[in-house]
Point group: C2
Chain length 516, copies 2
């Protein structure tokens, strides 16, 4: 059976991923090492992600701001002093002018900055500097801000959306009177991410707390949502951190309490990035390309006229435009339906398969026959085949317009259900000892992207939540298997039995998986 | 008469501007030289500017993309070869790692980039690189894309919103089969900007073409919209460029025509930036702070409860919340009304003046008396005083809810009318010779920000549209007066008489002004 991509998921998941991203017109590599170009279809998905999350942030009381792209080196130095595990791969600006010397354009030696600037890898320090000015009394708290921005981390090996030197994200930053208030915020935003992933991305996730060694540098607690990709690996899809008073002590952010004492504020930060688009691909893509859940599809219904390039085209196009007008007049999933007529001068079959690869949820094909019969031919992208054949459904334009919302809503929930079954059926909870864990996951292959062979799934196992050297010893055992501890799910089943690493009494369950 | 700012416009316009921006909580300077922090009220205005323009871009067929922040040095070198007047003040990234050497964090000498990267000052070259890959045949044209992004230009003297090292903007980039199509696009987007400025910003502008010497480097034609600030100076508020084949020749962007010939595409670019927010302040601000036109006000109606901090507060807050709910249920200016209850623990008068300075269009004050009388006390920010007194209007919550939309729409058009009268009454069209021009504008003061004294207005004069040396000679005459040619308005009155610079026969009228 011929499919719309050259590579199947089961052949080579990593190559399949690259092919989907390229052939769905989402993104491409650029002339700049590690930086991507996000094309209209990919950016359209990101815009819908942004719009939905932004509404959720505002509903939970946050306001948007914008802070500088550059961070003075001494802010970073201060952070490095305070924070263990601080990463040093960043883009450093050292000059502010170019000059032609001996016929060559070079950084002007006379325009060296007295202090280098760092392109923000994240904005805790520069935002803390503003917080110090904004906060005087308990009356000024909480401060709840967010920014949508680009950030840069110098990654050596990059992959479109999943790991790039520059990426787009949002970073929420908040300041509170005490631990209780800040901790509540940390969990509130984790829940915003979880709910968004499930209901809008149709991507099931498990929310939980990271271990001590996987915390954000400077955090007292780090929480994540973890999604299962179709190769069985985990993708960390969003994080929320309770930062305690680390940043407020480093930057002197104090407030006067109602009782008149000077206290340090407690801060949080939380973020998701364009990485989510990569997660979308690996959750919902199939061997014909991407499938976009309707809530995030820049075009939910694409109407494909079969054109001949002569006078017979006009009534077909008119028929299509009338249908489109009907469709965009109704709402689905809380917003007006997004529908487009693809007027491109290209043959009908090529257009069909372009949109299959892009993953538009509903395709409507209209030729002279349909116009004459007052009919439309409808393809549902999430269930393209009946047996081995693509089998369009015939109906009328009116019926389609009347059912468009419920069709889209059905696709949304069906895609979520499918992904949820996939994930839930692949979490093993019956492993009671470390040896069985190795057998369950099988050998780690030497594939540079990590193993893509073997029964790649997740295990949920009891452990004793050790710290320090004891935790490091466990990680040393997992490392040769390329296994990582993803998180300790918030939703604990009531643990019993012994820690599979130490034999001590277990205190909670954790998720173990190979990961991106 | 006491006003809400320390500085009046007539005292010192430049200081007044800084005070408005600061006291309206729009933006502040940051720890990074030349970079600003945009605070929620300022960013909220920018978000509304973005949303409205973005809708207009999409309605005219454009799609959003995202291109890399960094530009390889050799792209810039290629541009410098092709383009005269190329600016060299830019942020240069030379290292990708920090290292602690002798206890100090510095750029790691072992992590020097083989080729420096430039932080984008604009994206023509990097986008042209993608266009080359995207375009093969006439069927791929036009390509119509836009990006919302941050850009960096190393400015020596900066002022919040008006001129900062980093700023936010949108840049549209398009490619077309020929000059006709590209030129039409250039003018279409100029008209989008003009219409937006007038109807959404309530800021009257004059659209026209820049002279040869004021073109964007690489453009065949540059058009601008120019707005008159309250000090009489001009602010260039948006530009649209027809770039001919300069960039397509430099980067080899060719297509095969329907006839099978290889041709270079014709490109355009067009942009507006956070500078618009500065224009908003200088168009609509008064001696009490900012006045935001309702279409761009993050909160259009702010309800201010008079609270005592005791049990008597509850019914007042309930009354306020009920009113807010009524208000946000209706629409004004094409969108749901934005209304907020300011619950801050602060005295009522301080809250009133905070919101006056921020410029929320309608303020509604509610205390125990209003609750008892089923009344509200309404202040219209654009017409705060009756004589020398602030004179609130008393009405009922229902009446206010029923008239809120028409009140906001009235404020919007009244602010536009006021600004339009201001501008139109200050353009002098009767100057027939160069000597009179000098007299009209008066001496240039030595104020470093340019003159703020004298009858700062605009003159519309006939000229012969010279080029090259003849144009340079005219600029040399204008320069000591700190005068610049803003543009040749598209809307020409039918020119007659002689060029005021050369005495030759005039071919068009141009606008002359001092400018930001």
């Amino acid at each position: 059976m011929k499919r719309a991509l050259d590579t199947a998921r089961s052949d080579n998941f990593s190559e399949w991923y690259q092919e989907v991203v390229r052939k769905s017109d989402m993104a491409e590599t650029s002339a700049v090492r590690g930086c991507m170009v996000i094309k209209p279809w990919g950016y359209g998905i990101w815009e819908l992600i942004q719009a939905d999350l932004d509404r959720r942030f505002k509903e939970t009381g946050h306001e948007n701001c914008y802070f500088p792209l550059f961070i003075p080196l001494d802010f970073i130095a201060k952070e490095a002093e305070h924070v263990e595990g601080f990463a040093k791969e960043m883009a450093v600006v050292t000059h502010h002018r170019l000059k032609t010397i001996d016929g060559e354009l070079v950084p002007d030696p006379d325009a060296e900055l007295t202090e280098p600037l760092i392109v923000r890898p994240t904005s805790e320090t520069i935002i803390a500097d503003s917080f110090r000015n904004w906060i005087g009394s308990y009356r000024d708290l909480p401060v709840l801000v967010n920014q949508w921005a680009n950030v840069v981390r110098w990654e050596m090996r990059t992959r479109l959306f999943l790991r790039t030197a520059e990426f787009l994200w949002q970073e929420g930053h908040t300041a509170h009177v005490d631990r209780g208030d800040a901790f509540e915020e940390t969990l509130r935003m984790l829940e915003v991410y979880r709910e968004f992933a499930e209901s809008v991305m149709a991507m099931p996730v498990i929310a939980g707390e990271k271990t001590e060694n996987e915390r954000f540098p400077g955090a007292d607690n780090t929480f994540s949502i973890e999604a299962m990709m179709q190769d069985g690996k985990a993708l960390q899809a969003g994080t929320s951190h309770y930062l305690g008073t680390h940043f407020s002590e480093a930057q002197g952010i104090k407030y006067q309490s109602a009782e008149g004492d000077e206290k340090f504020v407690h801060t949080t930060s939380w973020g998701v990035s364009t990485r989510l688009v990569g997660g979308l691909v690996m959750t919902h893509g199939d061997d014909d390309g991407l499938r976009v859940p309707p809530a995030l599809a820049p075009q939910q219904i694409v109407i494909l006229p079969r054109l001949k390039g002569d006078d017979s085209d006009a009534p077909i196009l008119e028929y299509c435009d009338t249908l489109r007008k009907q469709l965009i007049g109704s709402r689905a999933l809380g917003a007006p339906i997004r529908a487009q007529v693809d007027r491109k001068d290209k043959n009908a079959s090529a257009k069909r398969w372009d949109w299959v690869r892009r993953g538009a949820p509903l395709l409507v094909e209209i030729g002279p026959r349909e116009v004459e019969a007052n009919a439309v031919s409808v393809l549902r992208r999430d269930a393209l085949y009946e047996g081995e054949k693509v089998n369009p459904e015939n109906t009328t334009p009116d019926e389609l317009a009347n059912t468009a919302a419920s069709r889209l809503e059905d696709i949304q929930s069906s895609m979520h259900g499918q992904a949820k079954t996939f994930m839930e059926s692949r979490i093993e909870s019956g492993i009671a000892e470390f040896g069985a864990l190795g057998e369950f996951f099988g050998e780690a292959s030497e594939d540079e992207d990590g193993p893509s062979e073997g029964p790649l799934r997740w295990a949920r196992v009891p452990w004793c939540k050790p710290t320090g050297a004891a935790l490091a010893a466990i990680e040393a055992k997992l490392d040769p298997l390329k296994l990582t501890i993803r998180n300790a799910p918030l939703d604990q089943n009531g643990v019993s039995g012994a820690c599979i690493f130490t034999g001590e009494e277990a205190v909670e369950e954790i998720l173990i998986a190979r990961a991106y």
